[in-house]
Symmetry: C3
Subunit: 162 residues, 3 copies
């Protein structure tokens, strides 16, 4: 069976300038590489247009199935990942964001600060994760089992859900 493809985008001003080692991207790749064909990790700065254009390149040109972003979901002035994601998604998937925040809240109350959103564009799913390796991998763990089913529905599987 052909594996779904995934692109991981680390969104960090410092990371994009080489001033901070990207630990979240590799940690997420480690979680996903068994089930997905994982592209190179891309590190970009916290700029709305760059974020939106990078996601669109993965969805519209490269037809990547799953786009995972890490970083830029907080309250800092430079945190604009949700705003950039909102610009390019077609259908929002509120349940993914809700469950990641509510389940993370059981581990650390600060998780409610994340403003990340999730949604679809064409036949791709875009997921915003927080920036820290611990928070990003925890959040992904709450939805990772559901993503293949969601992708298969998005791509036209018409069988009834249980």
């Amino acid at each position: 069976m052909k594996k779904y493809t995934v692109a991981i985008i680390t969104i960090s001003d410092k990371g994009s300038k080489g001033e901070r080692e990207d630990k979240s991207g590799p940690a997420l790749r480690g979680m996903l590489m068994g089930a997905y064909e994982v592209n190179d990790i891309i590190i970009i700065p916290d700029e709305v247009n760059i974020i939106a254009d990078t996601i669109k390149r993965f969805t519209d040109e490269l037809r990547i199935d799953l786009i995972i972003t890490t970083g830029g979901t907080g309250l800092g002035k430079r945190d604009v990942t949700p705003e950039a994601t909102k610009l390019i998604i077609e259908k929002e998937l509120p349940g993914f964001s809700e469950v990641m925040r509510i389940e993370s809240y059981k581990i650390t109350r600060q998780s409610v600060i994340s403003r990340g959103i999730c949604g679809t564009r064409g036949e791709s799913i875009i997921i915003n994760l927080p920036g820290s390796p611990k928070a990003a991998t925890e959040c992904l763990s709450f939805i990772v089992d559901t993503l293949p089913h969601a992708l298969s529905k998005l791509k036209g599987d018409l069988t009834d859900c249980g």
Copy 2:
């Protein structure tokens, strides 16, 4: 005491053409018929305009208190129930949708895929439920106790909440 009225709308292309038996509508009716005066179940296709017009007929013309939809909340190309509902609600009720997804997630992780929304129009409450009989009845069970209180508040009960 006069019972509140409820209309159940099954939203399904196959169901509306008689190609699939509607199991969700009758299951929901079974849950609601003790406490509500339940109208006939209507089965309509996954078309934005038909869904929006059907809900509006129940709220604006027939003055039905509670409109329950089942189906069309997923990720398929034909799933447009949330989009249709958004067109006609006046106030969104985010808590109903959140709690249905979070509580269902404890039973099956796939529940986070549902994009259903809830809201008010005039003195009616509209609730989107997923399409499968199991998911629809589970979701309704998490909010069914709260609906009479919500309806009474919407219709002008000014006593303080506890």
Copy 3:
């Protein structure tokens, strides 16, 4: 260390006319006065413009760090606090509202009715709480530990989150 400042706004037609004693405002002040410098409680009617202008005066002119509202989040015709808040926030903080509803739901199912929203304006955070003293203090208890961290991030703390 300088304490953050907080303003508490009780939103209630009856309260603003002196027809009902404000119990929520004082209860919230009691929870916050240890950690914050608490301003006088303001009681205003359920009017969109008055609510929006009052919040803006606290954020834009008085530079209050945290604005807590109580009341007007329900389904009554006069309940417009979320609509007023939406007019003036710049970034929404969905996680705060979600976790308050989901955690309160474990105590009383009626909590899902609250339509309260949370967000930022400039370097201030605005939190809508329900109107009853019990619900307002319960909801605040679920996020009160997180607010100083959120404020520090909003005001420019660039250290990494754990």
